[in-house]
């Protein structure tokens, strides 16, 4: 039974505590003597601070302390950028925890109040007098590059944070000799991740020992410890970071922010526990955003449908400061994916990372890969239309043929395994593609505008080999570790370095152990999120927890199995070579009646009464797994929409997702990841948009104005899969966390354009809200 637990849709063990309100999130923590911090944030996108007067605030009821940048300067180091892309003329502008002389975005921290209650802290913010001298602001990344644009940092002339290029093949020759060239200008609008749990921190300082405990909403507690020790000066061994229940992240809980380190500073200064929890309004202005590209793109090809080259210029908004991983997103995670799943012989992209007077941009679900997929899929539909071919036919003609152990593309990446046409075939069969095209033709005759959008994608996941991380400037490793510990009773504790925050690895990782060792899945407890208890890990992002952490776990379990085999051989008076194993039982080959169970072995190893000579007591193993390559999940998605041109309303009628993440540990959880991912991508296509006015005010600063998908505007997603194992992963698994988001935005976009082409609409701004659709239809009618 347990061997088949791998692949079973068992219920999640995380759920009972979350369903009963007994899981502990950071804001649920209360400590004796705890006080509350609230941040005063800049209302200006760009201004000089001419005066701060905190006198009145300091005497407000309940106020314990008020701090400004003058207090923290020299104590808290600036927040470091942790992805220093080489050969890009990178200019890392100083990112102070509290702004001192100049504020650079609406949301920059200017002062902090600590009070007996959160209400009192927020009250006292009103009593801080700050005089600002406003400066001109710039919010659009392409405009930031223009001559005469307001300068965000003196240290980054022309607002350029970096200029990175990727090239493969002879792209100039490809365009010179092209039979067809299609061009587009794409605005990847800025998005706000909007994890349901706002960010929070609780800091507790023990002056007598020098120990500091920081509870923090993070996807990567070990990185918080590492960076936190640099910023706060608390030595890494004395800094304990606990990420308790974390309510979603989607990339916004990767970076380190002022809030947690201000809590640490205040706790040390006041010698009292300090809690800081952002409001949703703060989350919108001061927790990182995603995307924000302006792209000028073109594709070269032949009249019979072969893509011969892709060329792009990208202005990627970085916001006012470089968030921890930000420079790697439009470059390594975007530019290197410019071939997608296609045989494109020549590519070239220039990426300009631009400082703007906006909230810093970071990873947001998919991080770079949705932008690459969208660029390609939008161009391919345009190309197909230009040569009068069905977009599916063009995709099929250019897909990399199935491969099982490596395929190198023009950007230099070596994909691990893929069967892209297989996924496409399955998606088309599910949706009934040819029948839909007939239905579309019939509906058009009735004046109804149905559209079918198709996309095929591949993503780079399972970040990644540490050697590659170092070569591309990532300021850390990207391996993972796991410890597996058998107790005398045969129960198991697993300690992992990654940090699940909704993805269910307490369940799936127990399934890995159970299937490898034959123990009951309920006998395995997975522990994560506490740097004092768990081994080092680099965090949960980039669909890497199962792809890298799961591999570390599998390797640790296999070490246990080797030791258990040797111990069983000793107890059965046989040689190791003669041993066999099945379903948690060790026995001599050909003599399955006499067995030692894994529980027998665990007991003996722990009491150690009868061990082979030289074998250590205990049944415990750890593993550090550094993957030899990335993993490359892929798939094909199809959307069917109907658009009402007179109102601009889009009805999403069907959505089919075929994703291949290799063997699935728990298909129920995989399906849930696809649902959520697809819906976030649909959100970008149809509703979500962070809007700044020209002065840098965020106009979509609450859930009233920033429209994340609601239950009543979505169809059921039809989720299917194919299974192509990764050749280098011990379990063959890839990753599924981001797939849906990577594929769905362009799929829905292509469907809407497909619907509106007869009306002469061949491009729309995202999100494709009714107003935008209506205007495009009107413009096309006038133009016709």
């Amino acid at each position: 039974m347990s061997a088949r637990i791998f692949g079973s849709a068992i219920r999640r063990r995380e759920d009972p505590r979350l369903l009963t309100g007994t899981g502990t999130f950071t804001d649920d923590i209360s400590l004796p003597g705890m006080v509350y911090a609230a941040m005063l944030r800049s209302p200006h996108a760009h201004a000089r601070i001419t005066r701060i007067d905190t006198t009145r605030a300091k005497s407000a009821p309940g106020v314990v302390a008020v701090f400004t940048g003058a207090d923290t300067a020299g104590v808290l180091k600036p927040l470091p950028c942790a992805w220093l892309i080489p050969n890009s003329n990178l200019k890392v502008a100083e990112y102070p925890v509290i702004a001192r002389d100049v504020v650079r975005y609406v949301g920059d921290v200017v002062a902090v109040v600590v009070a007996q209650s959160a209400y009192q802290a927020y009250d006292a913010l009103e009593y801080i007098d700050v005089v600002y001298a406003p400066l001109a602001a710039v919010v659009n990344p392409q405009k930031a590059a223009a001559a005469g644009a307001p300068q965000v940092h003196d240290s980054a002339p022309g607002n350029q944070a970096f200029h990175w290029t990727v090239s493969g093949g002879d792209v100039d020759a490809a365009f010179k000799s092209a039979e067809v060239v299609v061009k587009d200008r794409i605005v990847q609008q800025r998005l706000i991740p909007t994890a349901m749990e706002p960010r929070a921190a609780v800091a507790q300082w023990t002056a007598a020992t020098g120990e500091l405990t920081l509870w923090n909403t993070t996807q990567n507690p070990h990185i918080v410890r590492f960076i936190g020790s640099i910023v706060t000066g608390v030595p890494e061994d004395q800094l304990r970071v606990i990420a308790p229940e974390v309510g979603g992240g989607f990339g916004s809980k990767i970076a380190q922010y002022p809030g947690e380190f201000i809590a640490v500073f205040a706790a040390m200064k006041l010698n009292r526990p300090v809690k800081w929890t952002e409001t949703r309004s703060e989350n919108f202005i001061a927790t990182t955003h995603g995307r924000d590209h302006v792209q000028e793109v073109e594709m070269a090809g032949t009249r019979d449908g072969r893509i011969t080259g892709v060329r792009a210029q990208v202005w990627a908004g970085m916001g006012a400061y470089l968030s921890a991983a930000a420079p790697g997103i439009p470059t390594i995670l975007h530019g290197l994916m410019l071939c997608g799943p296609y045989q494109i012989p020549a590519v070239h992209e220039d990426v300009y990372g631009m400082y703007t007077n906006t909230t810093p941009v970071e990873a947001y679900r998919g991080a770079g890969r949705p932008e690459a997929t969208y660029l390609l899929e939008r161009l391919i539909d345009r190309f197909a239309h230009a040569i009068g071919k069905d977009p599916v036919e063009v995709r099929r003609a250019n897909l990399i043929p199935p491969f099982t152990s490596g395929h190198t593309v023009a950007t230099g990446l070596s994909y691990d395994s893929g069967n892209y046409a297989g996924a496409l075939d399955k998606a088309l069969a599910q949706v009934g593609y040819s029948a839909l095209r007939q239905e579309q033709a019939a509906l058009r005759k009735q004046g109804r505008y149905m559209g079918i959008g198709v996309s095929t994608y591949v993503e780079i996941c399972g970040l990644g080999p540490s050697q590659v991380a170092g070569a591309v400037g990532f300021q850390g490793g990207l391996w993972e570790s796991a410890i597996v510990r058998f107790h005398p009773s045969g129960k198991v504790n697993v300690f992992i370095g990654t940090k699940p925050h909704g993805q269910g690895e307490e369940t799936t990782f127990a399934q890995i152990v159970a299937s490898e060792l034959g123990v009951d899945v309920n006998d395995v407890k997975v522990i994560h999120g506490d740097t004092d208890k768990t081994p080092m890990g680099w965090g949960t992002y980039g669909s890497r927890t199962t792809a890298v952490g799961g591999a570390a776990l599998a390797m640790a379990v296999r070490k246990i199995k080797d030791k258990a085999t040797a111990l069983a051989a000793h107890l059965l008076e046989a040689s190791v070579e003669d041993m066999d194993y099945a379903d948690g039982k060790f026995f001599v080959k050909g003599a399955p009646a006499k067995v030692k169970t894994i529980q027998d072995i665990a007991l003996m190893a722990n009491v150690a009464w009868n061990m082979p000579a030289g074998m250590e007591a205990g049944l415990e193993a750890s593993s550090f797994y550094d993957p030899p390559n990335f993993v490359y999940p892929f798939g094909a998605h199809v959307a069917v929409v109907e658009v009402e041109p007179s109102t601009g309303q889009i009805q999403l009628k069907r959505y089919v997702a075929v994703d291949d993440c290799g063997p699935q540990i728990n298909p129920m959880i995989v399906e849930g990841q696809v649902h959520g991912g697809v819906v976030q991508g649909i959100g970008q296509a149809l509703w979500e948009e962070a809007v700044y006015d020209d002065s840098g005010q965020l106009l979509t600063g609450s859930l009233m104005d920033y429209a994340i998908p609601r239950a009543d505007v979505l169809p059921d997603i039809e989720v299917l899969s194919t299974v192509t194992p990764s050749p280098h992963h011990p379990l063959g698994v890839k990753g599924i966390g981001e797939a849906g988001t990577i594929a769905s935005t362009c799929t829905v976009y292509n469907a809407v354009i497909d619907a509106l082409r007869p009306l002469g609409v061949d491009a729309l701004p995202m999100p494709m809200k009714p107003e935008n659709v209506w205007h495009a239809v009107q413009a096309a009618r006038k133009g016709a």
């Binding site: 219920r11 999640r12 995380e14 759920d15 009972p16 979350l18 369903l19 009963t20 309100g21 007994t22 899981g23 502990t24 999130f25 804001d27 649920d28 209360s30 959160a118 209400y119 909007t194 994890a195 349901m196 749990e197 706002p198 229940e245 974390v246 309510g247 979603g248 989607f250 409001t279 949703r280 309004s281 925050h501 909704g502 993805q503 269910g504 129920m668 959880i669 399906e671 849930g672 649902h675 959520g676 991912g677 697809v678 819906v679 976030q680 609450s702 859930l703 009233m704 994340i708 998908p709 609601r710 239950a711 009543d712 505007v713 979505l714 059921d716 997603i717």
Partner: protein, 157 residues
């Protein structure tokens, strides 16, 4: 200035002196330590703080604690006896209706209200009934399944 309130929460009667401006959600979380009720926005949009007030779902961030004076409030901690699950909770577990779990307590009470008003909702009814509660993880699909399962388990009660 403080005022006196008397509220029964999860069957336990509480008498407290509170600031008139104190929100019910803060009273529950900070004063009574019932942190299962979550706060995910400040504009009454997300529904994470939904509880039952006299059996009817209410967003506790949009309600002053003094308005709950004399009422009986049920939070997620009190929906089922310790160690047991209400059929709605059980259905969310069965159908993978939660991922990070932060919106879940509110979603469970929104479901409770939906089923109170319409014991046998269609998928469309469910999607409309839950549009006041935001979830960023699930795409809602498994939540719809969970509500259908709960409705069946509760047999139209």
């Amino acid at each position: 200035m403080t005022v006196s309130v008397s509220v029964t929460v999860n069957g336990q009667r509480y008498q407290d002196e509170i600031e008139p401006r104190l929100l019910l959600v803060h009273y529950l979380r900070d004063r009574l330590g019932l942190t299962g009720t979550k706060i995910a926005c400040d504009t009454s949009q997300c529904g994470s703080c939904t509880v039952l007030v006299d059996g009817v779902a209410a967003k506790s961030c949009t309600c002053l604690a003094v308005q709950a004076d004399g009422t009986s409030v049920t939070t997620i901690e009190g929906l089922a006896a310790p160690g047991t699950l209400h059929p709605i909770q059980e259905a969310f577990w069965d159908k993978h209706g939660l991922q990070c779990g932060f919106c879940t307590p509110g979603m469970v009470f929104a479901t409770h209200e939906l089923l109170r008003q319409n014991p046998n909702p269609s998928p469309e009814d469910i999607r409309h009934g839950l549009e006041g509660n935001l979830c960023r993880c699930t795409g809602y699909q498994n939540i719809v399944r969970a509500v259908q399962t709960a409705a069946a388990a509760m047999g139209g009660r």
